[in-house]
Symmetry: D3
């Protein structure tokens, strides 16, 4: 049991890599991301008409990055190189970490991935909302170049969770105000070398 | 709703003051403490024979420091000066922060304080376990002088949550091994000036 | 004697909480605040026509946060919850810390609080000036969202210390220039839930 | 050209993940690792009897982590989950990053991987030496629990680069002295859940 | 040999002082500056028509701050007080550090200083380019007040290395865009007290 | 006046370089060193039989590093290269910084340097005591390899300030206890290449 706790403790040490790439000083940890996702999901749930299984919601939110204990937080720009196997790797890592201690989390992660239940949609909506609110706080506090996150705010999908959409609208507006007309240059984020072997 | 989320976001910025006092570089935040308390409570719950209301357990763990958003994390050494009013201040602050957004958390905090239900005892046992495991990790990693926490490990009370007691025993042993025979000098932590007006 | 020194050493570890709340990375410590208050008071004193007792001025400046050794730096937003007892707590803590080692500081802290002597007004004017110059430096360096401090600069009271007023005018102007027209949103700083029991 | 420079600049932001996992505060960056690998290779080369192509050696050392710009530094514990595709992903990422700007680095990385030339063996020996000297410095400075690195020092392979072996012997001895008899507990580093699908 | 490596390891600990003065949180280290200078020199060299001795170029770039191991990175504002003896001190320090281990670096540093060979000009152009690109990244990421570096970009001298000039033109433009119309106040950077003994 | 304040503000940004070299994470700033020197001098003065001019004592303590605003904190290992001109450079820098604002500090710095008055000896004794107590705190908190400071404690000279000697004796003892029998290897700190031109 302590082994598993100690592994999950690692999440408090791992910086969210996107903020590192954006030059944010002292960025949030993966555990902070999970904590706030849970808090946001809880708050959103209060505004829903449907009943939700709160134990499930909070467990999903808290454990949804468990695979990062062993794989760390990979940046978006890694996507073209890892997308094929990343999900399988995460699933296996999660299984190894929780083995014999908290295995009932595994089906919850699967449920979250499938986005069919209200709980899954709520947590997913909360997770994405956490990301754009974090971007808004960083823009407000001049921490890093987070102009790229305008796009995340713009394409935010509330997955039918209405209060999430309402909050996201305010966040989008405020983020825009804080960023002002700063130029956005995709410095080092993407290059499209069309190479035969990536096809 | 966003106001409340933004206030709770503050927890990711507040360092746990005990570790600051102990000279731990880059100490965990209050949000990390809450995140791990929730994780530990979840894991311990898997080993209990009694059924527990997991939504309640995780909500208690996640929100139990909500008052610190406005009061910050006060160190133990403040206790003689603030103990009379601290709890009332926390209660009021929690009420103001959650007002109109997540007020159903308030009775959970009261329940946790009373330590009568299994959920309350579980979260409390998890919280104290989080503290001594954090001490153990810091001792392991040579971060700060945490020799004072030997005492916390020694007097750990599992509140009847048997798996918590079992883990705490291992933690106590390992903490002792990592600290070795380092001298413990209560440098600046306590002084007992008996002054008329403190009585 | 070493106990007292070691306690006061704690001031070098405590971050000024206002800057933490404002998202300033690597904010100044309480000791930095005291150091600069002393430096500023010294410089202002050179421009005064009245003679000042410099030993008293510098001692006041250096020791004026001594209570924070045990109580830490509480944020403004704690004010509604702690204002009634905070001053008494600080006085007691200061007494315990300096007991038998530097008790002659205690009447100086009292004198500073009463703002009657020129030395007290000078140190108080210097302290507030330190706060708005720090805000100006942070605005200049893009560290955190310190737009709230526009208000501190606007309502600066030099307490009759003319050179302080002159410097504050420049600081106010520069702070305004650095902040530009950034929106100020009191994110998480205040909420006015009128609750019966706070009255 | 600036795009490529800006991407490689990312290496100065990426922490070496092994030290993060080990709880080292303010750990070295990937760029520091590359810088020191180059420095060490240069110094070792002075002691070799064979002539080496120094331009090749230093270029290999400086660019050998180029793929991490997009993939970041993956920890050892990720190995069971990523080993099959990691090398291919790195190769592709390196190609995309250096495309049209410094493509002549690519065959050097291939050469380094094959360990056939003296230059390749020298850089590889320097890289591993950098890791164990870093561990020694951290042990000396009490930064993190690096007891795991005793094993890296023990199994150090100089690949025939004699001066590297000589330095490694001293490093191994000093590392042992600094670590003393600290217990080594593989906290969170490995678990052997034999699962059908990992075979 | 290990002594020399350990001394050069110090470069990874030394912050570039100019960024400290500019209020940049978590600024780059001297080793990062050297690493990027080498990387940039390598990239620029690919675009040159003349052949260059790459071993020499990279060694110059990597070792050009070796004297700072003992003298640290002195800020520009120290110049009036130290300029007479600084170069001699650096030369001596470099000699002591590399003594008996990598003395063939010393003539390279002399060559770099004289700026006569293409290798020397290339590394010097790369070094200055590293400084203004770093300023551009910091401006982009809102880290510190780097408005002073507009001047560095404006007076950039490519020393005949044409691709360096081309990149510098883009950097200058982008730096200007990121800085916008922020006021530049030479806060604390220079004062011209004409004193007899400085003449 | 604000220019001078802003320059002195720089002292809060400058790390004490000795601790950087020793691998101390988040080391104290120059301003922290000055603050504690002043505090210690104040406390020691309470135990002296002789009267002291406290305004002078505290001003000396607060301003004694003023030259570092422009020269930064040079490490011990720079001594062989800079000792001839360092003092003159500091004097000139101090004069430029304080010019027209607080010039009456200059004779105090001279007085402190001459060590003739009780105030000068008191501040000097306090400054050295600050250094060894800082070393003791770092040893206690496992921050960096400060074993070198055993020597500073051993050769501490109280300059006739008896209470300083008494405290230093306790510090020396505790420092020894915290360091235990850790090996001391002068890694990178000194090398005695006897070179003709250093004579």
């Amino acid at each position: 049991m302590l082994e598993c706790m100690a592994e999950l403790h690692t999440l408090t040490k791992l910086p969210r890599i996107g903020w590192i790439m954006a030059g944010v000083p002292e960025p949030e940890s993966v555990s902070d991301h999970c904590f706030e996702t849970a808090i946001i999901a809880y708050i959103l749930a209060q505004q829903l008409d449907e009943p939700v299984d709160m134990g499930k919601v909070l467990a999903m939110a808290l454990f949804h990055e468990v695979g990062e204990v062993r794989l760390t937080d990979l940046p978006r720009r890694s996507s073209p190189y890892v997308k094929e196997f990343k999900r399988e790797a995460e699933t296996q890592a999660s299984r190894d970490i929780l083995h014999g201690v908290a295995e009932n989390v595994l089906p919850l992660l699967q449920e979250m991935h499938e986005l069919k239940t209200v709980e899954a949609r709520l947590v997913e909506a909360a997770e994405e909302l956490q990301i754009i609110t974090a971007a808004m706080y960083y823009a407000k506090e001049n921490r890093g170049d987070i102009s790229e996150y305008r796009r995340d705010a713009a394409k935010y999908d509330a997955l039918g969770i209405e209060p999430a959409r309402a909050v996201a609208d305010v966040v989008k507006k405020r983020l825009g105000e804080y960023l002002g007309d700063r130029p956005y240059w995709e410095l080092g984020y993407s290059r499209n070398a069309t190479l035969p072997d990536t096809e």
